[in-house]
Symmetry: C2
């Protein structure tokens, strides 16, 4: 019998207990042993729980989990840095294996955690930290090892994907779609971390570390959220044969890594363009495997708990096989991250202008002066004295677009540059 | 340094060598050791190879691989049962770990092979046997272990998916699409194994064993190929909001397993309906994880070799960690396979009739007598004296459809029951 201790009995913690309650026979058959939840750290002993659990297992004292010599595996499902990081480090110091679902902690402190774990001879698994139930960490560490990974494109935030899907399919504006997501529990009361792309940034940092074998500083990842995407942009995207998705992008180039999170135009026949609602999809290119995509529910109680329990089972298999640190995934390399100014893509640009003769010519001249050539131009009258110009460029370096837009904004007939969205292909 | 021996230097064997040639530094970094290809069994020493390989490594004597005490891992990429099975068993007897890409062997003899391997204390890995490079065996064995798997739906034969895609997108007839697939090397000169569904059957047997924890006899899997699917059926499918795909279906029911391979109607917004060309997709439902799909190239030299090399790396990690049989995946259970007569689905039925009054009434009466209720009816005049009737039923047990169709065929105004295709949802 293997004893585990769980830190946290929120949504994911309760999901873990539910899995043990419902699938215990099956799991016992798969590993030839019983998993025993010995202690669960909670904040409030008397709170009503929506899962069947023996109240005697609950404790408010972290040491009941972290210091119990009979507990082999500590499961951290509190989230955030404090106090989760302290608990995890203490568990490792006490030679306990750790399973965590904590993306922020793994993105920011993963290096230190994994290095300490290796030193102490324990395993730290974190499948649930990225894309919920979708197998992605383990495939990266074990299934794609024959490949040089060239690219990762991920829809790895379910909240923003839900919002963008609602905007696209039902013509909702951003605020209305956000409110709907909040009402359904898909977005939090303060949605900042999701809609500003921070959540996706943490996950990309974790994936890029594994894919490219490098340390990643989360602050090096250019991050732009979806708050400025409008239903008008989505409509134009559709006209042009695209969907707009919040993408996490990791690319290996000769001179370094492209790491960025931003809304992007992606062609409708790309498999990621079909990933809708709260679903996640991670598209990976390797130099042997070609293209694969892993698709599923990137969040939610049971999918996330599914990943946590799979990690617990994996560690139990290690324990029973008498092995530890079988797969090592921290590297000493540091591959530089490329400056956003030097990335190349096609750009969608929407500009509100005064409906005067010559406005298009002035804009086109500025772009031409900066070497930006235009693939398509749509001009529509909106109100009486205003018009809307939508440009779609050929491949061009970001710096030229930024420079051109500074000048475009100075043209007297230009009212506002409404949107600038990169294409990904 | 780990020595491996390879049996076979065909497409996949050459792909493995190519990966070692191209990604050796990367692999060395990942596992902290060098992989040395010590011997490669070939049929012809003097044949020109399209991959760079030292001719001194080649041998025509299997014992140079199977009996060499310095070889730790034997890689079998010959395919088929003879002589591959003999070689694999001999390798295991000689305490060598085995990596194989052989679906037929693993589907038919996997049980015996894995049991012997366990007895002898070696590992046998076979990720490449199903869906080429797509990680599926390892996710089944390690990532989904917290779940009761309820359903697998797979597009796991690239050849037939290519043919059906061409029929759908370019309105080609089956024979023309097959010929095109043959010209492109996607289909063999004798395409039987692909187009009759046998290849998919092997793969389903392997997946079902892992998913449901049971022995599977391949002959228990109902199998129907795509040779009778016409472009007319595909057109009607589209009218009704469906795609037609060759699906491998595994479902856990209270009374046993549904295991079947056949062309099926699948709704256009289902993720599998978007899996086109030679791509594969495997859709899995688990009671915790919900729905996931794994998508990628299900065949081809490099994707398949990618999976083989990942298995080699996994075994090397086991060797270096001093562990073996860490994950066991053979079970002693035998879950019965449910008779096709008892499955329930909706059916698409296309009937050619004489364009006479009362023909629809006679057909409808027969279906009504057998409890089959119709969801939609399309009747079209085709030629002067003939008409085409397309029926789409509500859920009904297969037995009732078969019985009804026996009687429908006896109606004098019925010329031919052209197609009967099950829906999957």
């Amino acid at each position: 019998m293997i004893n585990i201790g769980i830190l946290g009995l929120g949504t994911v913690g309760s999901g873990i207990i539910r899995i043990f309650n419902e699938n215990s026979e099956l799991i016992k058959k798969r590993i030839g042993d019983k998993i025993n939840v010995k202690k669960v750290l909670v904040r409030d002993l008397h709170k009503n729980r929506d899962v069947e659990i023996d109240k005697n297992l609950l404790t408010t004292n972290p040491d009941d989990v972290l210091q119990d010599p009979e507990i082999d595996i500590v499961v951290e499902v509190i989230g955030g840095i404090n106090p989760a990081l302290d608990f995890v480090l203490k568990a490792i110091e006490n030679k306990k294996h750790v399973v965590t679902a904590n993306k922020e902690m793994m993105a920011k402190e993963g290096w230190e955690i994994l290095t300490l774990a290796r030193k102490k001879g324990v395993d730290v698994y974190y499948e649930a930290s990225v894309a919920g139930g979708i197998p992605i960490i383990r495939p990266m560490k074990e299934s794609l090892t024959a490949n040089k990974i060239e690219e990762i494109l991920g829809i790895i935030n379910g909240t923003t994907n839900y919002i963008l899907t609602k905007m696209a399919k039902e013509g909702k504006e951003y605020e209305d779609a956000l409110r709907e997501a909040q009402n359904l529990g898909y977005a939090e009361a303060d949605p900042t971390s999701d809609v500003e792309g921070y959540d996706a940034r943490y996950k990309l940092a974790i994936l890029a570390t594994l894919a490219f074998g490098t340390k990643v500083n989360v602050m090096d990842i250019y991050t732009e959220g979806i708050t400025r995407v409008t239903k008008t942009d989505i409509k134009y995207a559709e006209e042009l044969g695209y969907a707009i998705k919040l993408l996490a992008i990791g690319r290996q180039r000769k001179d370094g890594l492209e790491l960025r999170v931003h809304p992007a135009f992606i062609e409708k026949n790309h498999p990621l363009a079909q990933v809708n609602d709260v679903f996640n999809g991670i598209f990976i290119k390797g130099n042997a495997i070609g293209e694969i995509m892993l698709y599923g529910r990137g969040a939610g109680q049971m999918p996330t708990a599914s990943a946590v329990v799979a990690d617990i089972i994996d560690i139990i298999r290690n324990i029973k096989a008498g092995t530890v640190n079988r797969v090592v995934s921290e590297y000493d390399d540091y591959i530089p991250v490329i400056d956003m100014n030097s990335i190349v893509s096609r750009y969608y640009i929407r500009i509100r202008v005064k409906d005067k003769p010559g406005v298009m010519a002035s804009i086109a001249k500025v772009f031409g002066d900066h070497g930006v050539s235009l693939q398509s131009i749509i001009q529509k009258d909106t109100k009486g004295e205003e018009a809307e110009i939508v440009l779609f460029t050929h491949d061009i370096v970001e710096k030229s677009i930024s420079d051109a837009l500074v000048e475009v904004r100075l043209i007297p007939t230009v009212i506002k540059v409404e949107s600038v969205i990169r294409e990904i292909r």
